[in-house]
Amino acid sequence: MTAATRTSPVRRTEQAARAERKRRKGRTGFVLYLVGGTLAALVFLVPLAWAVLRSFMPNTLVTQAPSGADFSHLTVSNYTGLIDTNDILRYALNSLLVAVGTGLLTAIIATMAGYGFARFRFRGSGVVFALVLVTMMVPFQALLTPLFLEMHSLGLTNNLAGLALFYTTFNLPFGVFVMRNTFLQIPWEMSEAASVDGASPVRTLVSVLRPLVIPGIATTVLYAFLFSWTEFVGALTFITSNDLYTLPLALLNMEYGSVGQVNFGYLEAGAVIAMIPCVLLYIGLQRFYIQGLMSGAIKG
């Protein structure tokens, strides 16, 4: 560039100068972007990485001030101890059962409803859809008392299936919204062709529409799973018996339930175990997560 402009300064137009300025500015901008982004990323990642690292330190070091020497004593003793004495695998399994159950149930019910709202016209459809969406505005945290009494009388408290039903319900508005949008985006002619061929609505869904709605289902399952896996106050209210604890309750039990000193090494290892599925699922399925955010169903 500079060589060219030097040989023919007259030909250097205003536009070229501007392009050059812009390019140089773009380069400094990119460096600033990289530096700023990296620093910010460290702020978010270092505490999490530090927690993982600390979970591999012997418990005696976890309860001491951090020092550089700690890293030479890495061990899995917190994990093995947690498995032996705290039954963490049972709690992880409880969490997994509830989260998988919530994910599947939400997917099935939301897919059915999304299909119904998008492809079938029936009396009251608008009202029912509105009622399902209004649920998004109702904070379940404020319904703990009536829900507890109701679920208790139905035998759904101290019951992992009951917890999954509760989680499913509060994931339905989002799921139904996403699935309805998914079905609306499929050309009407596709299911029409199948029904002309004599396929029933269910058969049309299973054999013709299925591949087209899988992304929507993935989004729905992902949100339901993560909600269920990380939920705390509902589990605290509806689960009281020790052997049904989900992971957050098991961690709370380590914090308050233990007599005397809290075993911070175990607590850290337990928290890392709780982190793992979230991190893996999010990194692996980020595309679907972002589709969910974009779908416009997010409210809060």
Binding site: T63, V138, L143, L184, E255, I298
Partner: protein, 330 residues
Amino acid sequence: MTSAGGIGRRVPALRGPGGHVPGGRGQGWRRLGGGGLSARRSRTGMILVSPAFAMVALFVLFPLGFAVYISLTNWPLIGPYHYVGGQNYSEIIHDQAFVHSVLFTLLYTAIVTVPIFVLGYLMALLVRSNRRGAVFFRTAFFLPYIIGLATESFILLLELQPDSGAVDFVLHKLGLAAATTAWTVNYGLALTAICVFVVWFASGLTMMLLMAGMNGIPAELYESADVDGATWWEKERRVTLPLLRRSIALSLIISVIGSFLAFNQFYILTEGGPGTSTEPVVMWIYQEAFVQYHLGYATAGAIVLVVVIAVISALQFYLLRDGDDKKAAR
């Protein structure tokens, strides 16, 4: 983003076979039993949506009505109860603990909302482009939100311990605090720590929502601004900000509702203490209902919370509807 604003609006794409199929080739049998088929499809539709409706009716609509009823009684966990009218409501507004929890929740919301928004906005500016590294940054910024407040609260509990926690260690090295600062047992320190923690946790969500909004702005607008010789700042002010109003409203409302419903971080880190000084509304409800067994009384507080959240949500619909029209006009 069409938002949850689907409520009440007619859905243009919702086509039924009646309006769509004009009859004709291969549809002869429909002409005979046209009404029958439409009725069958209508029935299929109802069957398909009924599980979702049943769940919502059973676990949301019924509890909502039941909550109003409970709040008008002196319901204990076990034993008889009777109707007390509005007594619970008139009592909670004079209950110092309840009023304190409301004020504390408002204070907490006031502290965290602006930092969450500003950080989220700055991060959205960083990650909205397709530049190299944007996906990595976005993933990193959002990771705390994905892992969840409960898990991270346990991690923070450990790092807030005097003498052994990393927070004291780092601040001590920087000369900002004593290595023995006990964060969770002091009102001011606990509130500070939790607010910083929540800003760290929640700004990623605001980033995502704003990024979605920014990516929805047509590129041509920036291109024509470029032709006009607009600077970066002018483009942000005159193109991005006005067209982002909707996303900004959405992210602020989600953030405020989230703060109003705060529970996990306080329950795990301070258990509302020292005393009940860091007790937010949801924890007051939880304690009254499931520790004190004053179910009627607690539910009156819960109804107040439901109403407040409903008002904020209605405000959201009002604000976002405006944006919706603009979007449609584009």
